[in-house]
Structures are given as C-alpha cells and as structure tokens.
C-alpha cells in the first residue's frame, strides 16, 4: 500500500516535471491530493444531504484529500449557512462546494470568495444567476439533478405500464416548494405526452410526510375510486400511499431512491422509485474542484443521473448496497455520463 502510494507520487512528480519542461502545454498546477476542498451543504437533518456529504468525503479520500464538509445549522437557517461559508472563506482552501438553502442566500458569500480568486462549485440546487451577478460572484461549474426531467420520465413510464385513458392521483410536497413543483409538472408533461387522454386528481400537498400522504391517498380514493395509479413527489409519501385502505394493486411511483423505498419496490408494495444520486453530485463536485485547481477547463453544467428503479432492475440496485442508511445505492445501477472524471490529470 505504502509502496503503491509512493509510486503514484513519483509518477505525479514525473508528470509535473515533464509538463513543466515542455513549454506551451497546459501544466497541471496542482496534484490532485494537494487540492484543498471545503464544502457547505444544507442541513444534515435530511438524508439526501447526508448522501451528498458522503459523496464529497469519500470521493475526496479516493484522491487523497480530506475535505472539510460543513452544514447549515438547520434546513431553514439561511443566514447561518452564509455565516458558515464566510468562516471557511477566510481559510486557504482552493475550492468551495456549495448547496444554497435558497437560491439567493449564499450569493454575497460566494462574491467574497470570487474576490479572493478561489473556485466555487455549485451542486444540487442552483444559485440564482441575477443575485450572483449583483454580488460579483462566479460559479465555475454546476452539477445537479433535473427534477422536471425525472418527473417526465416517470410520467411516460407509468402510462406505458397502466395503459391509456386512466386517472392518476398526484401527491406533492410542501406548497410552493420548487422541487416538488418541478417533479409534479414534469410528471404531468411526460404522462400527457404519452397519453393525451390521461386524467389527473390533485396534486394534493402532503408536505413530504408519510402519514399525511396516507391520509390524502385515502381521501382521494374515496372521492375518486377510478384512480388507477399514484405519483408522489418523494419516496416517503409513496410509502404512505402504499398503506392506503383501498390501494389494492394500483401502481405507485415515488422519487428519490431512499433505502425504505427500494425495499418496498423489492416486495412489490411500491411499483417504482425514480432514483436520484446525491452521492454522485458530491463526487462530481470534488472532481470539478480538482480540475479547476489543475487549471483545466471545467464543464459548466452537468445534469446528474436519475434511474427508474422497478422490478426489472431492483436486484441490481440493491446489489450496490453499502452500510450507509438512507441512500444505499450510492451509484446508479447502469452507466451514466461523468464529464469530470476524465478531465482530471493524474
């Protein structure tokens, strides 16, 4: 092990020497293991962000880096999160990975980092371009999921399974939440594209909550017995729907890919979960940091993968199991495009 790492260092030194000897070539400014990375994610009281944190920490370790990952003091503590980023900005990090709580709250802090000529990588939820420009901030690269596209894929897939002319019940997260709206709107668009005669009931807001979703599903089924399938904007709510009194064998789709949902897909209680991969977002964030520190050209925007996990691929998804709790399938069960990995100089 020790010999291997020293060999890697030797190689890296050799590469560095060669590249510095050859003029005109893009020189690797830093070795991957010397890149200092700090990250500020959202509150760690949500499994999704724990998944991202693990993606950052473990990917960094693979390159020999110990990343300092900090979280907002709470999921709604927007000012506290800005304070955290400010605290880290005073230190000698090469790169900052950020997930803003709202689309505006980190803009000024990012502006300060940009003034210090350091790199900022934005993952998961985008920072608003207008407020960022007003604060003089710059984001080198963004990697995140397209919730609309994930919903759309789910809509198409569901119509293929249940056939045309059916009624679908929709259960959304918190009222006014951007992620929930994107997933629901995407789902509707996908379903309508596959079957213009499809009818919807809802969306009803169940605030991302399992019990509330169960109550809503029961009420919706009483009022509209013709509902043939349900789409929930997250897995916890899909779980709730699966416990509804008259649910029978109606199809249920959720979004996220949390551990409980995968178990329910395996047992057939939930038909599918459109899985997203927070771990991959963290991974891409770290890789983008390394590319930037090496002076490479970083891809501006990358959409992280989503997969529809149903009975056809659930075994493969569960085979990726790790000891981690909520997002056991850290990596997708199939191939996905990672434009960052290949740009890192060894």
């Amino acid at each position: 092990m020790k010999r291997k790492s020293s060999a890697v260092i030797l190689l890296a030194v050799a590469a560095l020497t060669v590249s510095s000897v050859l003029p005109g070539q893009a020189a690797a400014k830093k070795k991957a293991k010397d890149v200092k990375i700090a990250a500020v994610v959202k509150g760690l009281d949500n499994p999704f962000f724990i998944g991202i944190k693990e993606g950052i920490e473990e990917t960094a370790l693979k390159y020999g880096i110990r990343a300092n990952v900090q979280a907002a003091p709470g999921l709604n503590d927007d000012v506290g999160q800005a304070n955290k980023l400010d605290s880290l900005a005073g230190q000698n990090y090469d790169c900052y990975i950020v997930i803003p709580i709202s689309s505006n709250n980190l803009s000024q802090a990012v502006g300060k980092i940009t003034k210090k000529k350091k790199t900022v990588i934005n993952i998961d939820s985008p920072i608003d371009a207008t407020s960022l420009a007003a604060a003089g901030g710059k984001v080198t690269s963004f990697a995140g999921t397209d919730n609309f596209a994930a919903g759309e894929a789910g809509g198409k897939d569901m119509i293929a399974k249940i056939g045309t002319g059916k009624t679908i019940g929709l259960i959304a997260g918190l009222a006014g939440n951007v992620t929930s709206a994107a997933r629901i709107d995407g789902f509707k668009k996908g379903a309508l594209a596959a079957d213009p005669t499809v009818k919807f009931v809802g969306p009803e807001n169940a605030d991302w909550d399992t019990t509330k979703a169960l109550d809503k599903a029961n009420a919706m089924l009483l009022a509209n017995p013709s509902i043939a399938a349900f789409f929930a904007a997250n897995d916890q709510m899909a779980q709730g729907i699966s416990k509804a009194t008259n649910i029978g064998t109606k199809k249920i789709y959720g979004v996220d890919g949390i551990a409980d949902a995968l178990t329910l897909v395996k047992s057939g209680k939930i038909s599918a979960t459109i899985s997203q991969y927070p771990y991959v977002m963290g991974q891409m964030g770290v890789q983008a940091c390394i590319i930037a520190a090496q002076g490479g050209k970083v891809p501006e925007k990358t959409i992280t993968p989503y997969y529809i996990i149903d009975s056809s691929n659930i075994d493969k998804a569960l085979a990726n199991n790790s000891s981690r709790g909520y997002f056991p399938n850290q990596l997708p069960p199939g191939t996905y495009d990672n434009p960052y990995e290949k740009l890192i100089k060894k």
Binding site: L44, P73, N76, V79, N83, K84, L88, G90, N105, K112
Partner: protein, 332 residues
C-alpha cells in the same frame, strides 16, 4: 425588589469601587456578570492558539462581527422581555414576517426605507399583541409567544404564498458587505442599538420600572407602575427589533425568505442566559448578552474553521450554554 437592593443590576458590572479586588472576586454577582467576558476571551485564545493564521485574521474577526450583528439585535429585545421575567419565543417568526412584509412592499416598488418601516411596523404590532394578551389576559408569556411563533410563521407563509422574493438593492448590499475602520457596518448598527438600549434600561425611568416589574410585579403595581404598559412596551420593542433585523437579514442574503429560521430564537435565549440575565426577572445587563452573542458566533466560527463536523458543533454549543449557566448558579 428595586435596583438598589440588588448590586448585580448595577449599570457597569463590578463597578462598585468601594470593594477591593479580592473582595470583588468573592462577590458572586461579579462572576455572573463577568463570566461571559472570561468565556469569550477563552474562546478567542483557544481557537487563536489552534489556528492563529485563519481564526485571528482580520478577515475572520470581521466575519464573526458580521455574523453576530443580527443575533445581537434580536438578543437586545429578548433581554428586555426576560428582564420582566418573560420570554419572547416568537422573535424568529416575527423576523420572518417582517421580511415577508418588506418583500411585498419591495415588489410593489416602494422605496427601501418604506419597506423597512413596513417590516418594523409589522413586528411591533405582533409584539404589542403579545404584550397585551400577556398582561391584560394574564396568560403566561411562554404560551402567548409560543402561539405567536406559530401565527406569525403562518401569516408569513400565507402572505408570501410560500415563495421567496428576491431583493437586489445596491444600498442594502453595501450595508451588508462593507466596513469602516475594519468593523462591518452591520456591527455599527447593532452596537448603536445595544448602547441605546443600555441607556434606556439603566438611565431612564422606564428602565427602572421595567426592572421593578421583573423583580416583583406586586410591589411594582403597589408603587403605581403599570404592568400592562411595561409588558406591552417590552414585547413591542422585541417585535420592533425583530422587524428591523429582518431588513438586515434581507441585506445579507438578498431575499425575503418565507420560512422561519428557529436557530435565531434558540441563540437569543442562550445568549441572554449566558449574559447573566436572570430568567426570574429584575436583573439584567445589556452588554452581557451582547458579549454572549459574540461568544456563540465565535464558537461556531472557530469550530467550523478547525473542521469540527457539524454534528459535534451542536453538542459543543449546548455544553457551553449549560456549563456557563451552571457556573453562574454555583458561584451565586
């Protein structure tokens, strides 16, 4: 109980010049007043020793001051309510409500100062309602403000429809980012409020009445002090300051956010206790809680800088609060 029978509520902690230094060290009130300063210096020294280049840099000390400004203003209001043996649990949602009102004014293209006054007015009204219900209906402060916590948070969500309003204004951003003589503008504003409140509490009749109501409401009433007036005033001030802090929060994050941020509430109560204000009322200082606010922010900043994982930060902050509170109790 008036201020004379209680040396700890003297305007300057430990200012009694008749006592020798040794005697003063044995005076429990000296310690409950100065403990927070000692703890603050300790935090600075410890983190300064671990990572001097990052923690003690001007840039970072500035960060601590910026982070402390908004909580410091909330803490002043909280000190007033606690000094009357009350507590204001609604500060965080009143701040949110103020921010939402600001956002609504801003989208109607009203001038920024009108928006700011709108937020302050909303905060003050919510606070006055708190004070009226507490004193006229004689309902426990804890219950009334807990109710207001929920009402203000809900009103903010209803009025904003749950959506944030982006507020891009170069004047506000200027206040949030810039500094003079190495001290951020935000801190000048907070400090001005602290000094003014100190004056209000210790050099006016209102302050004397306030502490009297907190110390012994029955005697205060017998002396002709109106409990209703004092309670309405302190909760009104607390609400007004929360509404004002909303403007600074907007300046700092560039948006009026509809979701309440409860961290600021917990922080304010912790700072008041750490600062040596008696939860039973009648004894207060303004500077103690102010230093406690700096202490809590320096602690959070320092733990972030030395890379302590977020999970442990909660524990350390909690330990510091409980430890200091029990130390104060011990020496008393």
């Amino acid at each position: 109980m008036d201020t004379k029978s209680n040396p700890g509520s003297a305007s300057k902690p430990g200012a009694d010049s008749k006592l020798s230094f040794k005697q003063r060290l044995r005076d429990p009130y000296f310690w409950s007043d100065w403990l927070v300063v000692v703890a603050f210096l300790l935090v600075i020294v410890v983190f300064g020793a671990i990572n001097p280049s990052a923690f003690l840099s001007i840039y970072n000390l500035n960060n601590i001051l910026v982070a402390s400004a908004i909580p410091a203003i909330i803490v002043v209001g909280q000190t007033f309510t606690v000094a009357t043996a009350g507590i204001d649990l609604s500060v965080s949602s009143i701040l949110t409500l103020g921010a939402v009102i600001f956002g609504i004014c801003f989208t109607k293209e009203l001038p920024v100062w009108v928006c700011m006054l709108g937020g302050m007015l909303a905060g003050m009204i919510a606070g006055i309602i708190n004070g009226l219900i507490i004193s006229v209906r004689k309902i426990n402060d804890f219950i009334v403000t807990l109710g207001m916590l929920s009402i203000a948070a809900g009103t903010a969500l209803v009025l904003s429809n749950g959506r944030p309003v982006q507020i891009i204004n170069s004047g506000l951003a200027n206040v949030a980012i810039n500094e003079k003589f190495g001290v951020p503008y935000l801190m000048y504003i907070a400090f001005a409020i602290v000094v003014f409140s100190h004056f209000l509490l210790f050099h006016t009749r209102f302050g004397v009445h306030l502490l009297a109501v907190g110390g012994d409401p029955d005697s205060a009433r017998a002396m002709g002090v109106s409990i209703v007036r004092i309670k309405v005033a302190v909760y009104g001030i607390s609400g007004l300051l929360a509404g004002f802090a909303a403007t600074l929060a907007i300046a700092r994050i560039g948006a009026a956010e509809p979701a309440a941020n409860t961290a600021i509430l917990l922080n304010s109560v912790a700072a008041v206790v750490l600062g040596g204000v008696s939860l039973f009322g009648g004894r207060a200082t303004i500077f103690g809680p102010f230093v406690a606010t700096l202490l809590l922010q320096a602690l959070s900043n320092g733990l972030t800088i030395i890379g302590v994982a977020s999970y442990y930060q909660y524990i350390s902050v909690g330990i510091v609060v409980i430890l200091s509170a029990s130390l104060v109790r011990n020496v008393r």
